[in-house]
């Protein structure tokens, strides 16, 4: 007894230490989660705002078209870039040197000319008049206003030079600089200019890809699960299928990309970087997840239901379609949503089938070339401009919001329809 008591203090200490170790591990895990989210959020929230500059545009008939002109072809051919430059020169008449002028023009985004053209096309009667207009600032100016440019650096290392700085300060004092909600980010496709780029193209591409993926993987996955769980005889062949599905679930996703490249693109000759091929590849990839979840859902339906149905004279197929499937459906849907969330976040296989192309247009269907959200994130993460860092983080926030809501939907579905017999 005394020997036991002698060691007791040491053993209790070990016990406490072990428990602390476990708690520490969990806290470390939680710390990683919060660190990841904080780092993404801190980098990204500024992207939802964009700096705009107010210009007093004189719609010069000499540069656009004569007053009263309404032919869209003539209107769209006007020299709008020159108009923006003239407006800037007018704003800072003291700038005469060629090199300085170039720096001055650099303050305004190239999108300003398109914005003015749009305005004129909409309402040709503005030609010859003067109007103030808010146009997007260049991404470097945007970064400066948001405080991402270190002004202590020597001028040569900075993207914003000293005289540009003084011009911007001058405009700020005039109330010509303002941060506004960045609608471009949600309504535009990709662009080389950070201030003109948005995620709509990628989001629409993701939508079409997921639609194709869902249309294939859900019916096929459920059918395969029903066959394996309810219909198939237990023999070598079904064992083989089962082992096969379990192994496919763990095959690296990039290998599916190579399969898509070799089969869909090289063999069947489908075009590259279209949502159709992306959806097909992702469907093959998510199929094991859906089959495994659906089988678990079918397993949880008690045998008494089947026996009762068979007992009153239903055929085996009627038993399945009328009784077992409706009861297993919530579980199957939960598995499918989780599989779709996986597919939405997947990048590597899509790189293999060429979905990394630079695509400006917003896709109109499953056969138009497009990007998807995670690939857009990858592309922006590779871009050197500082302004793309915050846009990458913002795109990640949008992607995570989609994923989290899908997962919440799955949890809600499980909570609402889960039945225990």
């Amino acid at each position: 007894m005394s020997r036991v008591e002698k060691g007791l203090a040491r053993r209790y200490r070990q016990e406490r230490n072990f428990k602390r170790l476990g708690l520490g591990a969990i806290l470390l895990g939680l710390l990683f989660v919060s660190f990841l989210f904080i780092s993404i959020f801190a980098n990204g929230y500024t992207a939802f705002q964009q700096t705009f500059i107010k210009l007093d545009v004189f719609y010069d008939p000499e540069m656009i078209a004569p007053v009263g002109e309404t032919d869209p072809d003539v209107l769209s051919a006007g020299n709008y870039g020159g108009l923006v430059k003239a407006t800037m020169r007018e704003l800072f008449p003291s700038v005469t040197n060629r090199r300085d002028k170039k720096k001055l023009y650099g303050l305004i985004s190239t999108g300003a000319a398109f914005q003015i053209r749009e305005r004129v096309m909409q309402d040709p009667s503005v030609i010859g008049q003067r109007e103030s207009m808010w146009v997007p600032a260049d991404d470097d100016v945007d970064m400066l206003i948001k405080g991402h440019i270190d002004l202590n650096l020597p001028e040569s290392d900075r993207r914003i030079k000293d005289d540009q700085l003084s011009w911007i300060q001058g405009m700020q004092e005039d109330g010509r600089v303002e941060k506004r909600f960045n609608t471009t980010f949600f309504t535009a496709g990709d662009s080389r200019e950070p201030e003109l780029s948005g995620i709509k193209g990628a989001a629409v591409g993701s939508f079409f890809t997921l639609l194709i993926c869902l249309a294939i993987s859900f019916p096929v996955g459920v059918a395969a699960a029903v066959y394996l769980e309810e219909v198939a005889p237990k023999n070598r062949w079904t064992d083989l299928i089962e082992v096969n599905i379990n192994n496919l679930a763990a095959v690296p996703s990039i290998v599916f990309g190579l399969l898509g490249l070799a089969v869909f693109i090289n063999f069947f000759g489908l075009p590259r970087s279209v949502p159709l091929v992306g959806g097909l590849v992702l469907a093959l990839m998510t199929l094991p997840t859906i089959i495994i979840a659906s089988r678990a859902a079918l397993k949880s339906v008690p045998p008494s239901i089947r026996e009762a149905a068979l007992g009153v004279g239903a055929s085996p197929m009627q038993t399945i379609t009328h009784h077992v499937l409706p009861l297993a459906l919530p579980g199957m849907l939960t598995g499918t949503i989780i599989g779709m969330a996986q597919a939405l976040g997947e990048t590597a296989p899509l790189l293999m089938i060429g979905m990394v192309a630079f695509i400006v247009d917003i896709p109109g269907g499953a056969m138009d070339p497009s990007a998807v959200l995670p690939v857009q994130i990858y592309l922006w993460a590779d871009s050197p401009e500082r302004a793309f860092v915050e846009r990458t983080s913002a795109a990640i926030m949008v992607l995570l919001a989609f994923l989290i809501s899908m997962n919440l939907l799955a949890v809600w579905l499980r909570k609402k329809f889960e039945r225990r017999w």
Partner: protein, 460 residues
């Protein structure tokens, strides 16, 4: 007319066929359902299936052969000298014709012949479309009509419909097999072509990896050497770092969750940790490249160590974070599967909780834990985006985690993204690497699943 319109029309026809078939069966017995062999809806379904399936099959076959038939007809109509061009040039010409026909930008100047060919192409295509439309619709109506006429009291409609459904179920389940066969064949064929150019032994045992093949003989630095050892070493190094991070944290948190945590803490902490599993890998990659790698670099600089900004350490640590929930949920399952009787026995002998865990539960759960770790290793080996974004591109044969290394998956991506011609050893090398990746992960999975199954049987 668009193919999708055709499909919608077909669906409409199918529902019409369902309605008519059902009605006819009811009319036959003047509403007395018990005189029919099957329920009326089965007669409807039977008619609808006959109406839809042959037409859809025809559609699939037509679409898959339409392109090549039309193209060969257009080629026949081209002038003789164009037809004699080598196949790549001919393909370029055809591409231009196709673009011209659809009104896109064309790479060369448009001449008389080309315009003619494009018109011919457009004409053929519209004829083919019209013919497909007519053929599919008439087949649907004809087959539906015959099925409709064949309805009788004794017709075994239910059995036929069920047979069709059964066939669909069976073919769905074999898709998994076809996927595997597809993966093996597509990877294997290209790999064999690669090994015709580069000997297998050079590939597996070579110490130098530099896939750029020289275009000119005197070019520097593009030797085209395909020795994959540095890639395997880099993959191994990053996987090792990931496991060093993930296994202790994942295992300890699983133990705490299963043995110590109260219900409330468990219901709170478990979903949060599972959030880590749901985050896309591209997000981890961005996190590694933007936050973790500079952090390690600055820390190394303040300690006087030269840490590369694409160090294996950063990629490995972030990959470890990604794998934590994987290990913890798998270990949680196996720890919970250890029978309560074993715990009670240990407590009865006077062991503390931690002693029970270390000396009874962990040994009992070890096979399951090992299986889980092996699955995690196979995931780490196949993980792509984190290493593509955070690890290096140049193949370094080093064991120093502070230097940049490259991995198998990074090389597959860099070899295949961008311009590629399908005959060069450079592109084919990606498929050889994928073959290695597939074989290794497959072997790991097989072993892991075998261990886990054996373990489960032990306690059931």
């Amino acid at each position: 007319m668009h193919t999708s319109t055709l499909i919608i029309v077909l669906l409409g026809l199918m529902s019409l066929a369902y309605y008519l078939g059902r009605k006819r069966s009811l009319n036959l017995v003047s509403g007395r359902v018990r005189d029919l062999h099957s329920l009326p809806s089965y007669y409807g379904l039977h008619t609808a299936l006959w109406c839809g399936i042959p037409a859809i099959l025809l559609l699939v076959v037509w679409i898959s052969f339409e392109g090549s038939v039309v193209t060969s007809l257009v080629v026949d109509s081209l002038p003789q000298e164009t037809q004699n061009l080598p196949s790549e040039r001919l393909n370029l010409v055809l591409n231009d014709i196709r673009n011209l026909a659809t009104g896109d930008i064309v790479s060369t100047t448009v001449d008389e012949n080309m315009q003619q060919a494009a018109d011919h192409y457009a004409r053929l295509q519209s004829i083919s479309h019209m013919a497909m439309f007519v053929a599919a619709l008439s087949l649907a109506i004809l087959a539906g009509f015959i099925a409709h006429r064949s309805i009788s009291r004794q017709q075994r409609a239910r059995n036929r419909v069920e047979k069709a459904v059964n066939f669909f179920l069976l073919s769905s389940s074999t898709l998994a097999i076809f996927t595997t066969i597809g993966i093996v064949l597509s990877v294997l064929f290209e790999s064999l072509r690669f090994f015709q150019q580069i000997p297998v032994t050079d590939f597996i045992f070579g110490l130098e990896w530099s896939p750029q093949t020289a275009i000119r003989a005197d070019q520097v630095g593009s030797s085209g050497v395909f020795g994959a050892i540095p890639l395997f070493a880099g993959t191994f190094l990053i996987t090792l770092i990931a496991m060093v991070v993930a296994v202790p944290i994942g295992l300890l948190s699983a133990i705490y969750m299963a043995e110590y945590a109260g219900r409330h803490f468990r219901s709170l902490a478990k979903p949060v940790l599972e959030v880590l599993a749901g985050i896309p890998t591209v997000v981890y990659g961005f996190f590694a490249a933007l936050t973790v790698a500079p952090f390690f670099r600055d820390m190394g600089a303040s300690l006087g160590l030269g840490v590369s900004s694409e160090s294996a350490l950063a990629a490995g640590v972030v990959m470890g974070i990604m794998i934590i929930p994987f290990i913890s949920s798998l270990s949680d399952d196996v720890i919970n599967a250890v029978p309560q009787a074993m715990r009670d026995g240990s407590y009865g002998l006077g062991a503390t909780r931690s002693e029970t865990i270390r000396q009874v539960i962990i040994p009992a759960a070890l096979p399951g834990i090992v299986g889980g770790v092996l699955l995690a290793v196979s995931r780490a080996i196949g993980e792509t985006m984190i290493v593509v974004m955070a690890a290096g591109l140049s193949a370094n044969l080093t064991a120093n985690p502070l230097e940049a290394v490259t991995t198998v998956t990074v090389q597959i991506v860099t070899l295949l993204v961008g311009d590629q011609e399908f005959d060069s050893a450079k592109t084919l090398a990606a498929f050889a690497l994928a073959l290695v990746l597939f074989v290794i992960t497959l072997a790991l999975n097989m072993i892991a699943l075998y261990i886990v199954r054996k373990y489960r049987e032990q306690y059931e």
